[in-house]
Each structure stands twice: as C-alpha cells, then as structure tokens.
Symmetry: C2
Subunit: 237 residues, 2 copies
C-alpha cells in the first residue's frame, strides 16, 4: 500500500512555494492533520527552522499542520509516529548524510513501505530512487553511502534539462552525464522535468504534470514518456 | 619548485581539443619529450585508449609524445618515472575513485611537489584543490574520499558559469551551490571561467586567460579577480 508523490521541483517559475502542487496534495493528504517535515537538505544553507517555517506556510493553505523532525528529541521516534512525510529539496549530499547520521533512512523506508504517505521534492525525490547518483547537486559533504531508499525501482534526475543547442558552454549536458552513469551502472534513470511528478500507489507509478519525462536505460536510446504513462517493469527493461 | 597549469576546460567553443592552450603548453613543457597522461576521468565514458589517442593527437602538434598510464603494468612506477603529467577532464568522481583504487594519489602529489610539471584540465584541475567538493559532475561512482591533492590552498570550480537572469529553470545557480558549500566548509573556492587557467610556479599562483575569475570565501562577498592577478595567502583570507 505504498503511496508517494515524487516531484521534480517544489516551485515552478512564476508561482509560490509548492503552489502548483496544492490541488494534488489536498487529495493526497486528505484525512491527514499533521505532516512530519524533513528539512535536512537545507536549500541555500538555511536553518532547519527557517526551512520548516516555509513548509508550514505552504501547507497552512490546505489546513495541514507541519512539524520539523528537528523539533523532536528523537528523530527515529518522530518517524515511527508520523502519519505522513514531506522531504524538501536542497542539497542531496547533505540530506543523505543526515539521514545516515541520524540513522533514520531504514525506518523511513520501512514506514513508507507500510503505507505512510510520502511526498518529496527535488532532493526529497532523489532519495526515493535506488541511489542518489543522478543528483545535479554539488558534493559539499561526503555522505557514508550514495545508496538511498529504493522505493521506486529506478533513479530520479530532478530538474531535468534538455540540451541547449545555442549554448557555447563546454560543460557536459545532462544527457551526457546520465549516459556516463550508464557506463558504470545498470539502474534506469528518469529525467523528470520541472512541473512533472510521479504518483506512486503501491506498485503502480504514473507520470503526472504537463510535460513528458525522459527515460534512460543502459545500452538503449533514451525515450520520451508522455504524461499519464504508467511506468511498469516492462517500461524499464 | 612546483609547476602547474590548472585549466578550467580543455576546449573553448569553436576551437579544437587543447588548441587555445598550445602556445602556453609549448613553453610550459619545453625540454619535455614525453608526458604521462592520466585518462581516468573518461569523458562521455570513452575508453582509456580512445582518450589517450585524443591527447596524443593534440600534443603531436607541439612535438611531445603522450603515454597513457594504462599502458604500463604498474601505474605507481609509471608515475615515479614520468617527466611530466597531464590529467584530462571528464567525471571527477570516477577520476578520484581510480586515483584511490590504483593507490597513486599520494605519489602523484609528491612527484608534483618535487617539481615534475603537471597540467590539468577540468576534472584534472579539480584534483589540484584540497577537495573535489566543488565539481559540477554527477556522482556516478562512490569514491573512497573526496580529498584530493591540495597542491593549491583552495578548491576549483571549473567551467564557472554566471547566473542567467533570463532563465526560468529553478535549479540552483553555481553561486548558490558554492555558498551552500561554505555553510559546511572553510576552504576558499575559485570559479574559473572557460578559457581561464592558473599558472603555478612554486608558491606563486597567477590567473591567466582573458576573463576574470570569481573568488568565494566563507562569510565574505564573492569578488572578481582580474586576469594576471597573483593569488596570494592574503587574497584568500
């Protein structure tokens, strides 16, 4: 009875924090009064309490209370008792580092597997994959592992960007980077464009939002998956 | 008697591999007949021999022979006996991973510290810093450490890109990422734009190329360093 929303970004251009997702979140979190927020990714290095305030403000609009995991004495207990989860974006290396340091990654995984609804954006979505190896973030801290929760059978590349044919910059495109990943790894990678998200109900995963997503598999041409595609075992193979 | 060229990129837009640097390299490697090439970063996942062929071709234009480290039975011995080094760009995580796996990072550092000339581009420049924590690359493999050679007393952000004010993309800018790094770390970071390089002679480090570089220090406003700036201890403090 797994239930997840795995979003590429928290914010689309020209709209407020989480605003484009609120209609979806209202349905997803119906009957939920309080969400446990995991602010470990600290976007721009802001504090846990600043970040939690931002989440509180957005969820207040749909009458849901938010508590930050740092407000509890024991983060494991906070996870054990939570009725719903939201992990915000920021730096994926620091998020994963803190999940390991606080020894909460296993309990978070098992709670989500048991049916507690989980919502992630950006870094909070990356950790739903098998590894964090397709993050775009800078490795500003060294986490004890790149392994993440494996709640979906592939990796996420959030904020997926198409190559810009007019660019004179010689840095690698996102597609080149993901192809390099497949020289060393087998795991499929889904490039989720901004404004796209995955809706996971048990083992059914559906692409939502207006844009297609780009699926990369080792040794295969990348393909575009239209919105509303159900991502099944055969889609990934 | 340290001597290094630490370049942001191998290739500037509209010109061939290493072409813009050949006049500089002719002087830097005068009296050198053979360079040891370290192809571990494998740009685009190409093989060591393909990558080495590319380097051979470029250096043939200035009458220097190139040997790939993989052509030797013992990579440590290859480093011990080399008269000059070139480490090419690609994926910094895989480069650092292989430097540790082959147990050559310490000997490479000590050979460069003893005066053997070293030329790096992109990932090959990142490893001259204290850590690889300011790479733009994707973490496609998990290296045993992010610590690098510390041949210069700061970190490099290669292919430094200024924020694009017209962008609608919500991913972090390079400047935001480097500021996040300074929430967790003290090491100064030099954003080297494409076409810029550092010339290190012993403990004197000079910025070369047409563009200024952007220097980030913890708790300070970022500053622009004009080309030909000598980067001294006081510049970094």
């Amino acid at each position: 009875m797994k239930r997840l929303i795995v979003a590429s970004t928290s914010t689309v251009h020209g709209s407020g924090y989480l605003e484009y997702l609120l209609p979806e979140l209202t349905v997803f979190f119906s009957n939920i009064e309080t969400i446990l927020f995991i602010p470990y990714a600290r976007p721009g290095g802001i504090s846990y309490s600043e970040y939690t305030s931002k989440a509180k403000e957005a969820f207040a609009k749909i009458n849901i209370e938010v508590k930050g995991i740092h407000e509890f004495d024991n983060p494991k207990e906070a996870i054990s008792e939570a009725k719903a989860f939201f992990t915000g974006g920021g730096n994926t290396f620091e998020l994963v580092n803190q999940l390991y340091k606080n020894d909460v990654i296993d309990i978070l995984r098992s709670r989500v597997e048991s049916g507690i609804p989980y919502f992630g954006t950006s870094a909070g979505s990356n950790i739903c994959g098998i590894t964090m190896m397709n993050t775009n973030d800078m490795p500003i801290v060294y986490p004890p592992s790149f392994d993440t929760m494996g709640l979906i059978p592939f990796n996420i590349n959030a904020h997926y960007l198409d190559p810009d044919p007019s660019s004179k910059h010689m840095g690698e495109t996102r597609e080149t980077r993901i192809k390099e990943f497949h020289v060393f790894n087998e795991t499929p990678v889904l490039g989720l464009r901004e404004g796209s998200w995955l809706e996971v109900f048990n083992n059914e995963t559906k692409l939502k939002g207006e844009l297609p997503a780009r699926l990369f598999r080792k040794g295969r041409e990348a393909v575009e998956l239209p919105t509303e595609t159900k991502i099944r075992r055969e889609t990934l193979s």
